[in-house]
């Protein structure tokens, strides 16, 4: 207990720095702004922020990203309720009760409930992170290179197997990411590899430009595929949300504390599982809360419990996703991966040693995440009326603005023109990948984790050339076993889905 009190006291030290609070606030505001615009994801928002964080201290950079992350997730709530379009995959279940509530003329009420549920969920996710990370850290410290290599392999396969339409495509993406991660000087002898004679690649594939191209440009190209229909939907659907009784909605969420706790526990759990994340958690939480409800038939008609289940679950994912990131060095989701990439660019390695060697930063991260929830709540209370107006801003303005900032951001990191060109190249590549049903998340994870996996593999083999150690060491063996199981499981699931599809086709005939 004393240990936790000390940890919490340590965590709050960061709040004495006003610049950190300011960056959380700015990040939250920007995140909400981007999150509200339909079609532009929180990934895009965090990628645009990335170049700006390099001029900051690591904690300021993390604070800004935490703000953007929480703000972006919260912004998705507005589009879900007022337009019936989930701004984020994490807000899919919010639409099911939020939009019907808005159509009944209670849009303001739905927004208020969503805001508070999101806040409580975020706080519970953060507290879980604050408790779990210091708890696991001493155990994780005992991991050697064999265990770390096996954990990375497990993380890679689980994300690859969950993301794509087929497991092979997911694995292609992950392994291609690992190949890209090998580009440049090797981590032990500095011997350049896979550079194809381009000197600029000796320091590796530029992370920021690759992120911007893959997540911002490709996303913007996808958004413009059907511009006319997209504009029409927006113009027709946006109507005033009605009054938002702040105190009343808070009381509603507090009286539904059981739902909040259950949904937050589900969200934190899914967040901590690499690859699962908020896209699954909100639907799963909604389904579970509905099953255990006394009135399951009312779900989907516009009730508070539905919004609470979805919003508390998707907001608690943020805290959960950082548990494996800070303890094991394996990001729980894409945003945690981008944050991890930002830390790596600052020369800080999340993983087993992070909690002990970078205590200030680790605890600072927890606190800023907690503060980001509060800051988003405050901004949303005052900003939500204005945010609804943003829904009508044309793509003809938002897309060029975002793209120009992306190009400038890519260039400003190292002032190298090649990084701008790379935005176009990786953007086209990512667009092609998405059209081909290949998920992007495993590629990014592979790019980040390849150098860590390679270093640990080479240290392990350099220490003892017996490769069986990867299997005979209990934790390493367990994770390699899980790696194989995750591939078999994904393959079996795909097979079952195909069989179910064939049966359905026959029945329909």
């Amino acid at each position: 207990m004393e240990f936790y009190l000390q940890a919490i006291a340590h965590s709050f030290q960061v709040l004495t720095d006003p610049t950190v609070l300011l960056f959380v606030f700015i990040g939250s505001f920007f995140g909400i702004l981007i999150g509200v615009v339909p079609g532009i994801s929180v990934h895009t928002a965090i990628v645009i922020t990335l170049p700006f964080t390099f001029g900051m201290t690591p904690i300021q950079g993390l604070a800004t990203m935490c703000g953007v992350y929480i703000g972006g997730m919260s912004g998705g709530l507005v589009t879900s309720i007022l337009l019936g379009i989930p701004g984020e995959p994490s807000a899919v279940a919010t639409v099911w009760d939020g939009f019907p509530m808005h159509r009944k003329g209670e849009g303001g009420m739905a927004l208020g409930i969503g805001l508070w549920a999101s806040f409580w969920g975020g706080v519970i996710g953060c507290l879980s992170l604050m408790i779990a990370a210091p708890f696991f850290a001493p155990y994780v410290l005992q991991f050697g290179p064999w265990e770390i290599f096996s954990i990375i392999m497990f993380g890679m396969t689980i994300i690859a197997s969950l993301g794509g339409k087929t497991i092979v495509k997911g694995l292609i993406s992950g392994v291609f990411g690992m190949v890209l991660g090998c580009v440049g000087a090797d981590p032990i002898f500095n011997n350049p590899r896979l550079t194809f004679g381009l000197g600029i690649l000796i320091s590796g594939v530029p992370f920021v430009s690759t992120m911007i191209g893959m997540y911002a440009l490709s996303q913007l190209m996808l958004d413009t595929e059907n511009t006319d229909a997209f504009k029409q939907d927006r113009v027709q659907a946006v109507t005033a949300p009605g009054p938002m009784p702040l105190f009343k909605t808070m009381i509603i969420t507090v009286t539904k504390w059981k739902e909040i706790l259950a949904a937050s526990a589900i969200g934190t759990f899914f967040g901590a599982l690499p690859g699962a994340g908020s896209a699954i958690s909100n639907i799963f939480a909604y389904d579970q809360i509905r099953k255990f409800s006394k009135n399951p038939e009312r779900f989907g008609t516009g009730i508070a419990e539905g919004i609470i289940a979805s919003e508390a679950a998707n907001s608690s994912v943020a805290g959960g996703s950082l548990i494996p990131t800070v303890t094991l060095g394996i990001p729980g989701n894409m945003i945690a991966a981008i944050m991890m990439g930002a830390l790596l660019m600052h020369g800080i390695q999340p993983g087993p040693l992070f909690m002990t060697s970078q205590q200030d930063l680790a605890y600072g991260l927890f606190t800023t995440l907690l503060f980001a929830n509060l800051s988003v709540l405050i901004i949303q209370i005052f900003f939500i009326r204005f945010a609804t107006k943003l829904l009508n801003v044309s793509n003809a303005i938002t897309i060029p603005v975002i793209f120009v900032f992306c190009v400038m951001g890519a260039y400003s990191v190292n002032s190298i023109l090649f990084e701008m060109y790379l935005v176009a190249i990786t953007g086209l590549m990512a667009y092609g990948m998405v059209k081909g049903g290949i998920p992007l998340a495993p590629l990014i994870l592979g790019l980040i984790l390849a150098p860590i996996a390679e270093t640990n593999y080479r240290i392990a083999v350099g220490t003892d050339s017996n490769l069986w150690l990867f299997l005979t060491k209990p934790i390493s063996g367990l994770f390699l076993g899980c790696t194989v199981l995750s591939i078999v499981w994904a393959y079996w699931q795909a097979k079952m889905q195909t069989t179910a599809g064939k049966i359905r086709e026959k029945v329909m005939i």
């Binding site: 092979v168 350049p192 595929e225 003809a396 060029p400 603005v401 120009v404 953007g427 390679e454």
Partner: protein, 172 residues
């Protein structure tokens, strides 16, 4: 129609397999030509891990190719098979804007060092804004206003506050 969609998805899967194999082969050629430094007997060479990953990528490419080819052969034997028809009009309608947008973006990026960042930004912003929002005068005014605001904001934040100097070409 359903059949044609299935076949086009299979062709796409076939292309994915081929591209993956091509990438793996290109990487292997680069690794074969790589200069190896001196290493001790019990050390792992710098090319070992990339070889492992590239080899795995090649295997996955072959797997993808086999899966796609098998699915195509199976679909061809389907008695309910219909003649393959591509709706070019629909394809054009869907991909025209993203294609033009990519052309604009590439033109913008590659012309920045020739023309200059700020000038190109104004041209690009207005061109893309008109492409996405239509050629009306009202849209032009909106886009022009947003362009001016964005460029001034960027100049103030990057060049003035953060001292990040953007590339200049013939113009500014």
């Amino acid at each position: 129609m359903q059949y044609a969609l299935k076949v086009s998805a299979m062709k796409r899967d076939l292309v994915i397999g081929l591209v993956t194999i091509a990438v793996a082969v290109a990487c292997i050629i680069d690794l074969v030509n790589m200069k190896q430094g001196f290493i001790m007997e019990d050390q792992v060479s710098a090319s070992f891990f990339p070889y492992l990953m590239v080899g795995l990528l090649g295997i996955l490419g072959v797997l993808q190719l086999i899966n796609a080819a098998a699915a195509m052969l199976k679909a061809r034997k389907d008695p309910a098979r219909e003649p393959e028809q591509i709706d070019w009009g629909k394809l054009k309608q869907r991909y025209q804007v993203p294609f033009l947008m990519f052309l604009f973006v590439s033109g913008y990026i590659f012309l920045i060092p020739v023309i200059g960042f700020y000038t190109m930004t104004v041209v690009f912003f207005i061109a893309l804004g008109m492409l996405l929002g239509g050629l009306s005068f009202k849209n032009f005014l909106k886009v022009a206003g947003a362009t001016a605001g964005t460029v001034l904001f960027m100049y103030y934040v990057f060049q003035f506050s953060l001292q990040v100097y953007m590339p200049t070409g013939i113009f500014y």
